[in-house]
């Protein structure tokens, strides 16, 4: 070994230990895994666990599940911030997360920085355990998906990002050159939002997969939230469309619009009004409380939340927006 990052090594397991966990805990039983969000989060999101979410930025993020985690006041979550935007921002703002691994966090892309999670980190309420790049994080998930201890990569090298990661640099015995080894990342639980799945969890995603193909295999427990549940027959008709096979899945939760205010490709676009409201309110701790009281603690479930954010009219607008039938309006465009 030539060099070693000083970041905290999290969510890593010796591959043999992980194999044994899989052997003892994951079964190929074709059983109905439907449950409600409350139950799924209660059962699989434990205080202190390492959690990662599907999607990217504000795209295909399982927001209904994120709200439910906050509603259940989970504590000390360690969040895999693999381009974690709205999800990680809310979890840090709400006090659910106490640690984060960062590839990209604290920002909302074009919309600007995240006041709440920045505050949480700057005040020391949330600790950054390590730094990564998007590709490095994603290759950590691939290493786990492949049951490996690490993946060799040609990024991070030479930077402080490497120094703050838990990677190692070694000499490649083939080329004689330095190469970076990123450790596998096996999240305790992952939550993904998909376009459709059957009651067993066989899932299809339309459009880009981002890192979900890898994440679904890397995670030990997997909750799938879905826009709709379809017949098993429909999945088996086109098996080459399956992105997640049932035996990886522990819970199936049907949540139409389950990514709101994020964007579900082909179905609905970003709700900029709502994201804007959050970005405005989250400038202060009081604003965060106000937001959570209204949209999370104050509603009994996701349907009530959807009504509160604008109901059918808003959802129809977001659908039209996705289909390019209306023009985008966004608070951040006004500036």
């Amino acid at each position: 070994m030539v060099e070693e990052g000083e970041g905290e090594l999290l969510a890593w397991h010796d591959p043999d230990e992980h194999r044994k966990w899989v052997e003892r805990n994951k079964f190929r039983t074709l059983k109905d895994k439907r449950m409600d969000l409350r139950e799924a989060v209660k059962r699989y999101v434990k205080n202190g666990c390492y959690i990662a979410f599907g999607g990217f930025g504000h795209v295909r993020v399982p927001m209904a599940a994120v709200y439910e985690i906050i509603r259940q006041k989970k504590k000390d979550l360690i969040v895999g911030g693999k381009t974690g935007v709205h999800d990680t921002d809310l979890l840090m703002a709400s006090g659910c997360a106490s640690k984060v691994e960062v590839a990209y966090c604290f920002g909302h892309e074009l919309r600007g920085l995240s006041p709440a999670s920045r505050r949480a980190v700057e005040k020391g309420k949330v600790k950054v355990a390590s730094e990564w790049s998007n590709a490095a994080f994603q290759w950590r998930l691939e290493a786990a998906a492949l049951g490996l201890p690490f993946m060799p990569v040609r990024v991070l090298l030479g930077t402080d990002t490497f120094k703050r990661s838990s990677s190692k640099v070694v000499k490649d015995p083939f080329s004689g050159k330095r190469i970076c080894l990123v450790p596998a990342c096996y999240p305790d639980v992952a939550i993904l939002h998909v376009h459709r799945c059957d009651i067993y969890g066989n899932s299809q995603i339309d459009g880009i997969l981002v890192m979900d193909f890898e994440l679904a295999r890397a995670a030990r427990r997997l909750i799938v939230t879905t826009e709709e549940i379809v017949e098993e027959e429909e999945i088996r008709k086109r098996p080459d469309r399956t992105v997640i096979p049932f035996f990886l899945v522990d819970a199936v939760v049907e949540v139409p619009y389950g990514s709101h205010p994020c964007h579900m490709p082909y179905l609905y676009y970003f709700d900029e009004e709502h994201i804007g409201e959050w970005l405005k309110l989250s400038k202060t701790d009081e604003g965060v409380e106000q937001y959570l009281d209204k949209y999370v603690y104050g509603v009994k479930d996701f349907v009530e939340y959807l009504n509160l954010v604008g109901g059918v009219k808003k959802l129809n607008y977001l659908k039209k927006l996705e289909k390019l039938q209306v023009r985008l309006e966004a608070p951040w465009m006004e500036r």
Binding site: G55, F56, G57, H58, V59, R60, G81, T83, V102, A103, Y104, C105, F106, G107, E109, L110, R111, L113, R118, V121, E122, V128, E131, W132, S133, N134, A135, A136, Q138, W139, E142, V153, R154, V155, L156, L157, G158, T159, D160, T161, V169, R178, G207, I208, L209, V210, M211, E214, H263, P265, Y266, Y269, F270, E322, L324, R327, L328, A330, M333, R335
Partner: protein, 260 residues
Amino acid sequence: MERDKGGFSTIELMACAASKMLKDNRSVLVGTGLPIIAASLAQKTHAPHLLIIFEAGGVGPQLPTLPISVGDSRTFYKAVMATSMNYVMSFLQAGYADYGFLGAAQIDMYGNINTTVIGDIDKPKVRLPGSGGANDAGSLAWKTIIIMRQDKKRFVKKVDFITTPGYLTGPGEREKAGLPEDTGPYRVITQLGVMGFDEETKRMKLLSLHPGVTVKEVVENTSFELIIPEKIPQTPSPTEKELKVLREEIDPAGIVLKRK
């Protein structure tokens, strides 16, 4: 940035300058904002075969409108391929990405970039988003183009944190670190001018001044010693055609071009 006397804004000038750097028949990894605008402009002018790639998986889209996020469905609208980050990053690693665009909070004379933190990483004054795909593009793309604001707090002697590698501490250092050979920062585009890197020393070098900007202004907004050649051309002004394409086809709503 307001429209100046020349009939174009600085941001339009920057978009056109960035666009001209992109050769035809090559590929560019873009983010949202100015990079996607510059790449679109190149496609619609001198580089019809420029391939646009997004890190989240969109490859070669026919953009119907400006995407807001790099994972947005617009990034794979009528695309050649809608795939994964693994696939796209593998392309970068295997040498298929010619250009990568980066933003930066701080940059030093070797093009090392900070987007992680202002102040101490353990006691951050301002916590920034971190690398995202920046370290990846900066490590793996053949040429990285940086677009940022130029002032003394951003063009610094030493960045608070090297998020993304420039030429590190000088010539040969990238290769010594194990990074792919012959890669690195290519251009830095700011509101004042365009900078490149000296071939021998790998230090930042002024290449052109935007209309109306003086060398003095550039120097005053840079905390490190910039290489200033004797003759410094002016950054070409946008043509009528470029402005028309920018304003009417690429960003008619002014999502990026009219932002401050």
